[in-house]
Amino acid sequence: MRIRTEYLGRVEGEAGVSFKIEGGRLKDLRINIWEPPRFFEGMLVGRRYDEVPDIVARICGICPVSHMLTSIRAIEKAIGFEPAPETLAARKLMAYSQIASSHLVHLVMLALPDYEGQGKGENSLMEVLRLPDMEKSGLLKKFTSVKEALNGITRAFGGRALHPVSMVVGGFTSLPGETETRLLISALGAAERDMEDIAEMMSELKLPQFESASVPVSLSEDGGYAVNSGLIVSGAGLEGQEDDYERLFEEKEALYSNAKKTSLKRGGQIMTGALARVSLQHRWLAPKARKPAFLLVEGPPSQKNKNKKNKNPFHNITAQAVELLHFWQECKELLEAAAASLNQGRQKPLRGIPPAREGKGSALTEAPRGLLYHSYEVDRTGTVRRANIVTPTAHNYLAMEQDLSGLVEANIGMPEERLKGLAEMLIRAYDPCFSCSVH
Amino acid sequence: MTGVNASQRNYRVILPENALARWLEWLGGFYTLTGPVGGGVAARFTEISKFEQMDLDYQSTMLPPGKKYLFEPVEEVLSFDVSEGVFSSGPYPPGRKRALIGVHPCDVNAILYLDMVFLSGPYADPFYRARRENTFIIALNCKSVTGLCFCHLVGAGPYLKAVSGYDILLTEIGEEEGAERRGGKNRKFMVELVSEKARELCDVFPFSMGEQPEEKDFEKMSRMEAALLKSFRKNLDMEGVQSALLSRPDHHALKETADSRCLSCSNCVMVCPTCFCHDVMDKTDVSLSRSRRVRRWDACQDISFAQVHGGNFRAQRHARLRQFVYHKLDYEEQFGRKGTVGCGRCIRWCPTGIDLTEIARAMME
């Protein structure tokens, strides 16, 4: 029996999955990422250092901010530029609002139809929204109010929410004024209940049980939930610094796929993203998110088992809901601080980009879907000579395939259609981005 | 300023800046005060709440005050409620009454030009008319001239000669001794109440702190005007230009300028205080509940401007540039005067500095 999906729906980018079951055994399981490559690493060679963020933003239509932020920091390291503290704060706002927004897309648009629509023959956001209980709960209205509140922040600081323009190497070419910032705060306030409803609804989904062998990997930083910088930690402890990345990790090309598989050199599958972050960094979460995070990571107190950490990749969905709560809170606080410092009028926006200098720089950040690595070599004239980009989905690729094997083997007797559906659900739970993975 | 008759003089007073400031702030009770903010050649007409926000020494603005506030860049002129099947247009006047403060002579003349476009002829535009009637114009004679100004060639400046169509004319005529104000000085302004509206308003507000101007004040103004006239750097034979242009529509100066420098970006037209062209288009909500007819500034430099079924009358770049140059310097038959007021904005804001007077001069040679 051959099971295959040519073109997975409700994921970003193009990929398929196929496997065979012969004599009760699983064979030839592949996630074939056929997303056409654009060769960013090749295209960037010969471009000027300050063009890089605008180019790499176009790797992805949902996390352009992450690519911009990561490349900006790598370039700034390469040319030896230190950004101002206010710039760092504004960059956090960009990152947080984007991660929350991306999670919202995944939760409601991409993942929810798997659970709400299941068995009812519904599997798109549009159809799910038309289900009677969904219409009643006013999901679409909530979804749009939450999205507008979050995108409003990215838009205010970046110029637009998708492929922002005012975030450049060196800082921001313009920043919102105090009144605008206050409006953002009140929009967050107005949509907060809707956001909590969505987070609650998502954490109550009945997720399939499955245990993965993946090791969680994330950034970690003292004093906060690490996103834009930090040390590399894994379930096994400290691994190293971002500059050690290329020493610690290795990329392998798969002959059947346009994406590469990346993992720790010492071997084994790793998982990055919301679940890994929540597992490794939950003590830094905002108070509102901490309790659900604890429940998620440690399991409900009553049925506490020895296997302390949550290793069910389906729970990435729950972890995203937890992060939605967390980043919402963080955005509110950062905006309050920004508004207070802004009441002297506009913060001075950047005038002129920092000058070129020869150098190498690499940066590692937490994108919505996990670890994102950018590294550049820039020559004296500011021209990029080498570029290397490793994306979250490349980090998760190996784990996705291995977990899928495990899941299929555990359910090998299941009717074909249901097994296929379950397989797709697992892939979606990872919230993969195939556009990023290929780039 | 000779030849002023006695009755006109009755409506003139010399006012120190601080009194003018108080009077303007009182005027703010009836009008939204709007004046030049940020000095130099790139000031912006902006709504203000305090006299001090303005820089009355400004030389020019990017968007002309008249065009910006009387003929708005984008405006909904008609709305159609799809389910009800009814149209609405208006309201007139849209918004509050506005006072434009410190409008230079060229820009006042440009408003008079826009009046001819939108109010003369068989059809008056109700939006423009309502806004025009609700706008109080306080003109300000220039006290300096930029290198790009050529208002003197078309009689549009540097002192305002028009006798109606605006409300008050200010001229800075010196400083009051002793008093402290901007830069440690308190300037004195000759205030002329031109319109009936202005005279009525000033009946209410006593100009008691002002002085009656004397002959020497008028003489001083004449001297200042004469000095200003000498400081212009641009020159062009405005009489000869018309016949010269029309006889050489394919002159190489036009073609070369167009090909080597004109970007067809339309900045010249956008900043021109007399350019009135606009596009009209219908927009419908995605919910199909309402259609709006919107007009927005348009420009003859744009390639589709003269596109019709089966052809484009100005497909060539130089034909479009020619339309601009001719419309400003020739085509006097259109409204009985030249299309330019000599403010120099099209030159200043052209990214490649294309200068219509240079093109015309080359074509006349």
Binding site: R38, G42, M43, I55, L255 | D259, C265, D285
Partner: protein
């Protein structure tokens, strides 16, 4: 309305999926869009649906970089009453088209080693190189004005009216500070198609041309202006200002 909702298809080729996200998420008329159209094929939003058509409206994002896409594209055209290209990748080649500027082996070799021989990537092309396109919803990401014009026009059954003038016009209408004339920044606005509302200049930034060159762009005149600014090498000017979103269309315009 009441009548049948128009069947819409959304198709992705080589790109970042941003146009899809713009349509299904970022834009401000999401509720109305979902209510008005029957999205019969839209992989980003639905795992069901079929590309077989017929479609009243098809939107195609992305550049064409692999042979199979040409076949798909032609099928989509046949099945669609109206087909619009959406986003810079589909219309000008966008960022993926940068690949065309350097030798193919060099660009591809910088990203892959063993996989190189399994790749089917070609020189990027815009979609109207292969099929007739009824209109262009420009931008990277597409601007809301043109997107709404496309959607409402499809619903009304009329031809849309897309923006076709320079960013400068929008910039002036917004009374922005001109970053080129006042600050000497290398702004691409004068030759770039409008639709964004002059976003970059409004944020004190030089336009980098993400809506693509407008029909009447005078490229060499603006190059000359950038040379005068003084701090850009010839290569920079070429690269930065005329190949970022126009790598495929290095032609002079009227």
């Amino acid at each position: 309305m009441g009548a049948r909702r128009p069947r819409a298809g959304f198709f992705k080729f080589t790109c970042c999926s941003g146009c899809g996200f713009e349509l299904a998420y970022f834009q401000r008329c999401l509720e109305e869009t979902l209510a008005a159209f029957d999205f019969a094929f839209f992989r980003l939003a639905s795992s069901s649906g079929t590309p077989e058509g017929p479609f009243d409206l098809s939107l195609v994002e992305g550049a064409v970089t692999e042979p199979f896409q040409i076949i798909e594209l032609k099928k989509i055209r046949q099945r669609s009453k109206v087909l619009y290209a959406i986003g810079s990748c589909a219309i000008t080649g966008g960022i993926p088209a940068i690949k065309a500027l350097a030798p193919e082996a060099q660009v591809e070799g910088a990203a892959y080693k063993e996989r190189l021989y399994g790749l089917a990537s070609t020189r990027p092309h815009v979609i109207n190189d292969y099929v007739q396109v009824d209109g262009f919803i420009r931008g990277c990401p597409p601007g809301e004005r043109d997107l709404f014009e496309a959607l409402s026009s499809a619903l009304m059954g009329k031809d849309p009216e897309f923006t076709e003038y320079s960013v400068c016009m929008e910039c002036k209408m917004a009374d922005n500070k001109c970053v080129l004339v006042e600050e000497g920044l290398p702004c691409m606005g004068p030759v770039t198609n409008a639709g964004c509302g002059a976003l970059c200049p409004a944020h004190h930034r030089a336009c980098y041309g993400c809506f693509g060159l407008m029909g009447q762009a005078n490229i060499h005149a603006l190059k000359g202006r950038f040379r005068e600014l003084g701090h850009f090498s010839e290569e920079d000017i070429e690269n930065r200002f005329f190949t970022l979103f126009g790598a495929l269309g290095k032609t002079e315009r009227k």
